[in-house]
């Protein structure tokens, strides 16, 4: 991006500069920060910004993947590679209780997200004693996120109180907290989905190939197109995996993530589809379908 004349900064240059500033504030003020890494496109963009922020040093914090064991295989493959290239330690946490009880998205519905993700995240933060965790969430994703602070303060039991957030003025971020309390930090708050895609294209950032269309085995279920990523996928009576040219707009646990039929095999085409599309990004995720304020409830309980 630096080949553009610096005197007229583009919106992406401004967004990148702001994100870098936020990350450095945490590096300077927090005792033990960590970057949550979900292997998705937002994580990829955030990791790239982190590398830039601290160059030539590697980012001075580890990456943490809260693993549900139900991610796509292609995501696990990129995870190790990305951490290694960034020169960062990769921590993987799997909720042992969820593991012992065999919690899975097919039999346990909402409990799956609750146990693996929400509980798993809290466990991991407590286990390592992290006092600040970067997340790739953006304000344009969903209504309750629009009011989220960049530095989101959490009580010792990880709860978010929407009525008791600190005012954030100028670019002065207050990172002070009592022992046991922690911060969730969202350096990409002001980016939109299009900004993320354009940045990935301009900076040539590697992302999981599932974002690009390819023929993949799928079944149609409850109005969603699901990919049969491994043998754990229990087929219902009358279901046979069918090859379709699909891609994903967002990546989570494969049994919960709906695919879209697509022919877009490169970034330009993906962006083109995104611009011409008529449904918003989170539509593909089962978690948001309940009540329109469900994300707000999940956040109060400690979901990222």
């Amino acid at each position: 991006m630096s080949e553009l004349p610096p005197s007229r900064l583009t919106h992406l240059q401004r967004l990148e500069a702001e994100s870098i500033h936020i990350m450095r504030e945490i590096a300077a003020q927090a005792e033990k920060p960590v970057m949550l890494y979900s292997v998705g496109k937002d994580s990829a963009a955030m990791l790239h910004v982190a590398k830039k922020a601290f160059f030539p040093s590697p980012p001075p914090f580890p990456l943490l993947h809260v693993d549900t064991t139900w991610k796509f295989k292609a995501m696990y493959a990129l995870r190790e590679k990305a951490a290694q290239e960034a020169g960062m330690e990769l921590l993987v946490h799997k909720n042992p209780e969820a593991q012992a009880q065999g919690i899975n998205p097919f039999d346990h519905g909402g409990l799956h997200t609750d146990m693996w993700k929400t509980e798993g995240l809290k466990q991991a933060l407590d286990k390592y004693g992290f006092d600040a965790a970067f997340g790739g969430a953006r304000r344009d994703e969903e209504k309750s996120r629009a009011k989220e602070r960049v530095f989101s303060f959490r009580s010792a039991d990880h709860r978010w109180d929407p009525k008791n957030q600190r005012p954030e003025l100028w670019n002065l971020y207050n990172a002070k907290k009592a022992k046991g309390e922690s911060l969730r930090v969202f350096p990409m708050s002001n980016w939109t989905e299009l900004d993320i895609w354009q940045y990935i294209q301009l900076e040539n950032i590697e992302i999981v190939p599932l974002y690009f269309a390819a023929p993949r085995p799928t079944v149609e279920r409850d109005g969603m197109l699901l990919m049969v990523d491994d043998e754990r996928f229990p087929l219902r009576d009358g279901e046979t995996p069918e090859m379709r040219s699909i891609r994903f707009r967002t990546l989570g646990c494969y049994p919960l993530t709906g695919a879209v039929e697509s022919e877009a095999t490169n970034l330009s085409e993906v962006i083109q589809e995104m611009l011409l599309t008529t449904t918003s990004e989170r539509q593909g995720r089962a978690i948001d379908h309940d009540a329109s304020a469900s994300m707000e409830k999940k956040k109060q309980e400690g979901y990222f």
């Binding site: 900064l9 919106h11 450095r24 830039k52 922020a53 601290f54 009011k147 954030e168 449904t279």
Partner: protein, 642 residues
């Protein structure tokens, strides 16, 4: 503003035809942040909803849920209620008001926009200030039927106070006054009088209708008499603050020192103002050391090092210098011939943001740029009535109050007046106990007093005083409830120390209030000032080499910590005289508890005024279990390791 062509998505066809050409076009967008001020009644949310809708930021599924919500909760009958799109949190939707700052995003082919949508009511002044702090432009909405209201004045005052250069007076709901030019002209003329009084140099007035879409994205045939730009083309063309900031002298607050190995030492930060290039002469403030920029380092796409020829305000960079000089977080790297000023006493405007009111004299943490220092605020000079701009006398600032104060910091800081430089003149105050952000501040100027009164260096220093007395000077600070036994124990302790040939002095709460502090009462603010003065007096006596015994209720942790910070480390010993309230009240040596219980004595600690016990006292004595003599001996044992 001559262009009156439809501004957005002329190139929409390009998305389908030639996506790469479209993306190329959209990579060069700039970014404008603006704030919308007004209440629900002014149609603010409707206008924002309209901007999002017209720039295709609403997807079909959102539209479907919006239609469902409109029927259930909406105020527009069967029409789509755009306001519902913008009012976020569940609680707000039920109450039908916006209570926080919500950020919205949309883009045209020229710019990306970040809208801070803030509530209009007076009790949300702090939210509006928050949104305004990062805005380049403010859209002040008024209802054409209502004209200029009290809240219009308040919003304009706040936007102007926060230094927003571009003010748009959006005269909304023109459809409801039959698009009448005379009505619009009347409002503009009234507003101009008001703006002049405020010192606002310019504003742009636009007649529009958010509901009907007139003059929002393009000029409306319904108001052919209006010759200016529609709202969106105006937003696309105003000058950005970040670009204006490039004209100022270079300054970059250092956030983080980048030291991967012994061969590289870089200083990372966000450039606040100006431009910088290798070879430029710089000065590090406040230390005043000079050096030269060696390189501007960043990472190229492929992960290798890239050096920039120049960087400007708004960029996050890492700078290396030609020489090894002392520079760390909190310092500012600035142009050598025009660095920011340095001072420790200021006049400032404060906007109070916390439920707990300002306590003049209390030590707060001040965050200005990347500098963090302890600061205390004097009793405000005045408070501003945000509706009438009148100056009111006040002793404190409560939630949402705006006032002008004198503020002093424990060490010198680099700064610029806010009016000249937003980045170097803005600060927040943080409560040291709750860690809450309690105030936003704008520095006006430094007060000469600090510059002119230099500390008088004396030849016989504190060490010389202490050596002559053959003792380590100390401040023994007794804290506890009234009637806990502080004075009695201090008195016993002084007797023991006297027999040990120690040079001592006992400062007692009641005695000091007869003289030095006889002008102070027992309000929270007076209690803080009481302790500040006693702290200063104790410090002078400790400097004189004495062991000072100070016995004061000193109910607040913040003030005890303030006194601790006045002294060199290890010289402040906090002694907690730990007596339960029931025991102290039972003793009631001075009969004060009885009076307080009878309501004859107000603000009595333990009864109707709080006592914050020390969390980690240096010495604790329990007078329910020890006599005064035993307690005094216990303290001696602790102090001298007997």
């Amino acid at each position: 503003m001559s262009e009156l062509t439809p501004p957005i998505y002329e190139t929409e066809a390009l998305i389908g035809e030639d996506i790469d050409a479209y993306l190329e076009l959209h990579q060069h967008k700039s970014m404008l942040r603006f704030i919308t001020c007004g209440s629900v009644d002014d149609g603010k949310s409707t206008l924002i909803g309209r901007l999002l809708y017209d720039s295709k930021m609403i997807f079909e599924d959102q539209l479907a849920s919006l239609e469902a919500d409109s029927k259930k909760l909406g105020t527009q009958g069967q029409e789509i209620d755009f306001a519902l799109l913008v009012d976020g949190l569940a609680a707000e939707r039920e109450q039908g008001i916006t209570i926080d700052v919500a950020y919205r995003f949309f883009a045209t082919e020229k710019r990306k926009f970040i809208v801070a949508d803030t509530p209009g009511h007076e009790q949300y002044t702090r939210n509006m200030v928050t949104g305004a702090s990062t805005a380049d432009l403010a859209v002040i909405l008024i209802d054409a039927r209502q004209g200029i209201l009290t809240q219009t004045r308040r919003h304009s005052y706040l936007a102007h106070l926060l230094g927003i250069q571009h003010i748009v007076l959006a005269v909304n709901k023109m459809d409801l006054v039959d698009y009448d030019q005379a009505r619009f002209d009347e409002i503009v003329s009234q507003y101009r009088d008001f703006a002049d009084g405020l010192g606002m140099k310019a504003f742009t007035a636009i007649p529009l209708s958010g509901l009907a879409g007139d003059n929002v994205t393009q000029n409306s045939d319904n108001m052919a008499w209006y010759q200016g730009s529609a709202l969106l083309p105006h937003l696309e063309s105003v000058e950005l603050q970040q670009e204006a900031a490039q004209a100022a002298s270079f300054a970059m607050p250092v956030q983080w020192v980048n030291r991967p190995n012994l061969d590289f030492r870089g200083f990372s930060g966000l450039i606040a103002t100006g431009r910088v290039a290798p070879g430029d002469a710089i000065r590090v403030v406040p230390s005043g050391k000079n050096s030269t920029i060696k390189s501007i380092v960043t990472m190229a796409k492929d992960g290798t090092e890239q050096r920039l020829d120049e960087a400007v305000a708004g960029q996050s960079v890492t700078l290396t210098l030609d020489t090894e000089i002392d520079c760390s977080r909190g310092d500012i790297i600035a142009t050598a011939d025009n660095p920011p000023a340095v001072a420790d006493r200021f006049e400032a405007t404060l906007i109070w943001m916390d439920e707990e009111a300002l306590l003049p004299g209390r030590s707060y943490e001040m965050k200005i740029g990347t500098q963090t220092v302890a600061a205390s605020v004097q009793t405000p000079k005045y408070q501003v009535n945000v509706n009438t701009m009148e100056h009111l006398a006040t002793k404190t600032l409560e939630l949402n109050a705006i006032g002008v104060v004198e503020i002093s910091t424990t060490q010198k800081i680099s700064f610029a007046p806010y009016a000249e430089n937003r980045a170097l003149g803005s600060f927040v105050l943080i409560d040291k106990m709750s860690n809450a952000t309690v105030a936003a501040g704008l520095l006006h100027f430094s007060l000469r007093r600090a510059d002119n009164i230099h500390w008088q260096a004396t030849d016989i220093d504190r060490n010389a005083h202490a050596q002559l007395k053959n003792q380590k000077p100390l401040l023994l600070w007794f804290t506890g409830l009234s009637g806990s036994g502080k004075s009695t124990i201090a008195n016993e302790l002084e007797k023991i120390l006297h027999t040990m040939n120690r040079h001592t002095f006992l400062l007692d709460g009641d005695n000091v209030r007869h003289g030095l502090n006889k002008d102070l009462g027992f309000t929270d603010a007076d209690r803080v000032e009481n302790i500040r003065r006693i702290g200063e007096v104790s410090k002078l006596m400790v400097d004189a080499g004495l062991i000072v015994l100070s016995a004061f209720i000193s109910p607040f942790r913040a003030e005890r910590d303030m006194v601790r910070e006045m002294l060199p480390e290890g010289e402040f010993i906090e002694i907690f005289v730990d007596t339960p309230l029931e025991v102290a009240e039972q003793r009631d040596v001075k009969g004060l508890y009885k009076k307080a219980r009878a309501g004859e004595l107000k603000n009595f600690t333990g009864i109707d005024s709080p006592y914050e016990p020390p969390l980690n006292p240096d010495i604790r004595v329990n007078t329910a279990q020890m006599s005064a003599q035993e307690a005094a001996q216990h303290i001696v044992n602790q102090l001298f390791g007997l």
